[in-house]
Amino acid sequence: MKSIRVAKRSTVGGPPSGMAAGMLLLALILLSAPTGAPAVEIAGTSSTYVQSRETAGGSNLMPLYEYLNFSVRDMGTGNVSFHFGGWARYDLRDDTFGTDKNSDLQYAYLSYRKAQSDVVLNLGRVMVFEGVAAERVDGAYARADLKGGFGVSAFGGVPVETDNIEQPGNNMEYGGRASHHVDNVYTIGFSYLKEEKNSQDFREEEGVDLWLRPMNKVELLGKSAYNAITSGWMQHTYNLMLGPFQKLRLNTEVSSIDYEAFFSGATSSVFSFQPGGPIDPAEKVSILGETASYAFTGSLNASVDYKSYNYDIAGSANYYGARVAYAVAKSGGAGLSVHRMDGETNSLSYDAYRVYGYKKMGKADVAVDALAVLYDAPINGVDNAYSVSLAVGYDLSEKLKLGADVEYAKNPDFDREVRSFLKLIYRFDTSYGKGKGV
């Protein structure tokens, strides 16, 4: 195995905040409550993983992960529910990223839903997807439909983000969205977001989002976002979808991104581009893409895609390829894809190939996946990377599944790498939300 130097830094974060710890306690109380109590339904999934792998630095890792998510419905009334998701890790061998344990509270909130007007009120650690906002806050989120096709939403709280340095000052975030829609014709939204970090303005964004369906089989969707701090448009990104015409669908994507405005609100230095660096901070890119897909049958689909990147400063790049996918629900499938990234230089160019297959056989399932990437310019003296994985699973019962996979790989960091993964999935009360996908 080759070795590369990896700088070790302690991870940011540490134990959950006081609010998160409170939510965790509430979760434990709810889980320990007698399940025979009338009306209350508890359902969720416990996923236990053990991964075995070696790092490029030579450490042997065997982290044990427990992912837990559950929902408690019908708490007193049918309108109130509680939702929880989080994970914890403990290392059975060497430390992962310098710590032998880690955890995260992904979400934990009390939710009130009304049967009319799509009224929703969430309190706790909530995820917010509203126009320019794709956030996670310790706070509140609310929305409601109004008369005449109008709708409003608002959120506020302490942003849940990573930070390079301690932010002792005020950290808060709030925003909202107003929208109007005409059923099956259009939805347009205007959104606003402001974030203060360490008592300083960190982000202030305004945006427009649009979904337009002027006629059957013609659909336009996209959004524009404006950075009020840098006084510049962050991005415009729109997709025109046509079809299906018989079995053909066409999707055209047009985007433009101004790097100075787009990347200004980052908490990682990787997005702080410097003049003279590999990415110019004044860069702007226009992206034009086209995907054409054809469904030969309900199970067999083929597509070709092309995307061109035109930069103001750097040279242009093109990404194109094709894929074929075959899938039969609850039975199995297979797929094949070939793509080419054609960057400005050889060091930004590669070919990527992938083939996979999976099959469900009674209580057992098996999946294989093989990937290969051929670099135009060698990395660490190696001009290709490939990996092959084999996964098997078995349903011990309707609620309990055992799975294992092994992956063999060769890449610029490893002459030979073998990873293994064990998992035990337990779903409690599968009757809840039987239609839920995952």
Binding site: G85, K147, P159, M241, G265, I379
Partner: protein, 148 residues
């Protein structure tokens, strides 16, 4: 001064207008979960002929389109998906790649399969904006191991 007065009047009237519009609204809320089981990939147009038909989970849905629908109407996502489904990729802090957790589902469009440590040096230069939604302000502790 006149402009400020007008803005103040507008701001005072806005909550009242919202309250009136809300009081008059009586639309039925979207279902909390899908009434029938949906098998993947969900082809909504097999049953729906209205706007919901546009949400067919075709090959470009995960890669391109889903973010627009979520930004406008995430409640619709919640009809079939739990919050944990979103959190698998859109994480505050995550150590396991989604494709490592779901090697038994190779048909799913999951990011960073295979040796992405080296490939990201190329993709990240070609389009860093595609990295930013997941790693710009969250889930970037591993970025800091090298990008100090």
């Amino acid at each position: 001064m006149k402009n400020k007065t007008m803005i103040l009047i507008f701001l005072l009237c806005l909550p009242a207008m919202t309250a009136v519009l809300y009081a008059c609204a009586s639309t039925k809320s979207i279902a909390a979960w899908h009434p029938t089981e949906v098998t993947a990939p969900a082809i909504c147009s097999e049953c729906h002929t209205d706007a919901r038909a546009a949400m067919d989970h075709t090959a470009d849905f995960a890669a391109v389109r889903h973010r627009f629908y979520a930004a406008q109407n995430s409640r619709t996502c919640g009809v079939c998906h739990l919050d944990s489904f979103c959190s698998d990729c859109h994480a505050q802090k995550e150590e396991l790649k989604p494709s490592d957790k779901y090697k038994d589902a190779p048909e799913r469009m999951l990011p960073h399969r295979g040796d992405y440590l080296n490939q990201h040096k190329i993709d990240g230069k070609i389009n860093p904006a595609s990295c930013f939604p997941c790693h710009g302000r969250r889930n970037n502790e591993r970025c800091r191991v090298c990008h100090i």
